[in-house]
Amino acid sequence: MAARKRRRGFGGVIAVFVIMLLLMSVMIFFFLTKEERLAKQSKWVRQVDLTESVTEGIEDYIRLARLGDEIDVKAIVPSIEYNVILTFKSKGEFDEALDRASYEECEELAYNAFEEAVTALVKKRLEAGGHTGDPTELITETLGCDLISYLKENAPAILPSFDELDSQTKRSTRAETYLCNGNTLVIVENGAEPVLYEKWEGEINE
């Protein structure tokens, strides 16, 4: 009788162990699919900073015409960032694309800063030459067009063209691992540094 009781107790432990194992597997399964579901539900964005390259481009252009360090280009150029949008497809595969609206915003900010820097340069040179006229008016009269149009057509480009950036950005690849908590997503590609994305609420505008 006693032996029968012992056999029943051992079977219960195995059953509990098996049930626990099953439960853990189910929990792990649900945890992963939830993360994948979260990742797939949203679009994700990362910013690429062009501030430094734009600043260097403007400084290069005005370098030979400036009289000294009177123009602080770094103070003129605002933060210039464009968006790269990530969209999950399935099983860790994702697409990346350049957001056109953010690129156009970058272009506007960059050329406004370029205009401000060149106008400041012309103003300084006019003052040095003893002239008091409005630099913007004089520039427009000289060029026969506004300064931004002139700079876009005649000065060296201070940021890559949309097509150039787009061809560098556009890709379809697979993430080695990814972690998602609903608002942020970390992608780790094979042999690369982890990249952090944020949840994207906007519309894709390629």
């Binding site: 252009y61 370098r63 015409a65 006229g133 630099p135 520039i139 060029l143 005649n154």
Partner: protein, 486 residues
């Protein structure tokens, strides 16, 4: 006395004979040909002989249309042509019916003959698939009784829309490729230097597609009448005058109409209206009608000229632009030492004016796209002087201009539909050596512009006149500041 009369007869008789020998009617251009030549023609790899005439007047090679038609038979650019002394008829898409002598060399007799009197460069009526063209060609009889037409090679290439290249009397035709303007080659060949200034632009977007010396001050001759039209339309829109107002002809207008620069005779008792005067001014380039409109709008032409210059200023045109009269004819200043002056401007300024005109009064093209208009009050059929209206599909204007000083000018506009909608291309050619050249340059520019808009840019027009570095920009602005200060 008898001896005096005899002497007078001896002197006057040769003069009279000369006058009688001058051909009647309007002579468009008198070409001078070098000796006729035999060239080699390669059509899709096959070799033929082709008769050529090199016209020194335009520095272009004119090719026998019959030889070309014969060689192109069987290709997808085949055409039939019949040539008489007074008419050329082309039917595309059908094989050529040979008349004899095609792709045969000039015989020795012809090679030694003086072709100058046999072939005149003029616009013999030409019909291509029943559409009338106005092209300068040389028509004459090469062999007895059989007429042939010699046509400028690139113009034929444009008409057939096929690639033709010419190298040292060797003409290559590749019917599988479309005609396209190679701007780099034209620039290298200094093609545009035969004109004082050229500009090609998209009036819809304002984009400049090509320019050659666009800020050079040029005399603008009758293209000034576009400004006259603009002010007349301003007066109508402000309610100062009406489109069908009766207009009375002043003595000054009547005198001009009976002078050598008159186009239509206007008597002082004539009652006409604004609408007919506009059509006569824009189509037949009537100087007296422009003056009549100026007087109707402002009372006197002098007052109207003040309005023209004020309008130029309000449009932001440069100081190079100045008007002295309403029609573009040469005039004299009232100074003690009189100067002969003409309306002047730049290609850039005239484009600004045209762009504004097309935006504010687009109905101008309803008139300038008419080949002719009957004007009953004047008993006059006004024929459009713009040859591109016939030769370039989609042309909607705008204005020709010619004086000795201005040479030949032409502002053309063409409708082009491309991916992002309808555009109006505008080509401006000032100071061309001849009316043959102004048409040819305009046609080349418009063809290039059409390709740019419909197929994308193929040539990057870098403007060497604009400063290329920050220092050049600063120096240019300093010059402007100096000029303004002084």
């Amino acid at each position: 006395m008898n001896r005096f009369k005899r002497l007078l007869c001896i002197l006057l008789l040769p003069l009279l004979i000369c006058l009688l020998l001058v051909p009647e009617g309007r002579v468009y251009a008198q070409g001078e040909q070098e000796a006729p030549e035999n060239g080699r023609l390669y059509v899709n790899g096959k070799t033929y002989t082709v008769k050529l005439l090199n016209v020194t007047y335009t520095n272009n090679t004119y090719v026998s249309l019959r030889d070309m038609a014969s060689a192109l038979s069987g290709t997808d650019k085949q055409f039939d042509v019949s040539v008489s002394k007074s008419e050329i008829t082309i039917k595309t898409g059908i094989p050529y019916g040979a008349r004899g002598g095609e792709n045969e060399p000039f015989d020795e007799e012809a090679m030694e003959a003086d072709f100058t009197y046999n072939f005149n460069l003029k616009t013999t009526p030409m019909f291509m698939d029943d559409v009338e063209l106005k092209r300068f060609t040389l028509v004459g009889s090469v062999t007895d009784g059989v007429y042939d037409c010699f046509i400028n090679v690139p113009e034929l290439a444009m008409m057939l829309d096929t690639k033709m290249t010419f190298d040292n009397d060797e003409l290559y035709v590749d019917t599988s490729e479309e005609f396209s303007v190679n701007m780099e080659e034209l620039e290298e060949d200094e093609f545009f230097m035969a004109s004082r200034s050229c500009l090609l632009a998209d009036a819809t977007t304002g984009e400049i597609l090509y320019e050659y010396d666009p800020d050079r001050t040029v005399l603008i001759a009758s293209t000034s009448k576009l400004m006259t039209y603009l002010l007349v339309m301003d007066a109508i829109s402000e309610g100062k005058i009406g489109m069908y107002d009766t207009v009375y002809i002043s003595d000054a207008v009547s005198r001009l109409s009976y002078g050598e620069d008159g186009v239509v005779r206007l008597d002082t008792d004539l009652e006409t209206n604004v609408n007919e005067l506009i059509k006569a001014m824009l189509l037949a380039s009537s100087n007296e009608c422009a003056m009549a409109l100026a007087e109707h709008v402002a009372g006197t032409e002098a007052e109207f000229v003040k309005l023209m210059n004020a309008k130029a200023e309000s449009l932001g045109l440069s100081e190079s632009t100045r008007f002295y009269n309403s029609n573009g004819l040469p005039t004299y200043t009232d100074d003690v030492v009189t100067a002969k002056v003409q309306n002047r401007s730049t290609a850039n300024d005239m484009f600004t004016l045209v762009k504004y005109l097309l935006a504010v009064y687009p109905q101008v093209t309803e008139i300038t796209s008419m080949k002719e208009a009957s004007l009953p009050s004047m008993g006059f059929l006004a024929r459009n002087t713009n040859p591109l209206l016939y030769n370039v599909k989609g042309t909607i204007g705008l204005k020709t201009g010619t004086t000795n000083g201005a040479m030949c000018c032409l502002i053309s506009a063409k409708n082009v539909t491309c991916g992002d909608g309808d555009h109006i291309l505008v080509s401006l050619v000032f100071g061309a050596e001849s009316n043959v050249l102004r048409s040819f340059v305009s046609e080349i520019l418009l063809d290039y512009g059409t390709d740019v808009l419909t197929k994308g840019r193929t040539y990057d027009p870098k403007d060497p006149a604009k400063p290329q570095t920050a220092e050049e920009l600063v120096q240019a602005v300093l010059k402007t500041a100096d000029r303004k200060a002084n």
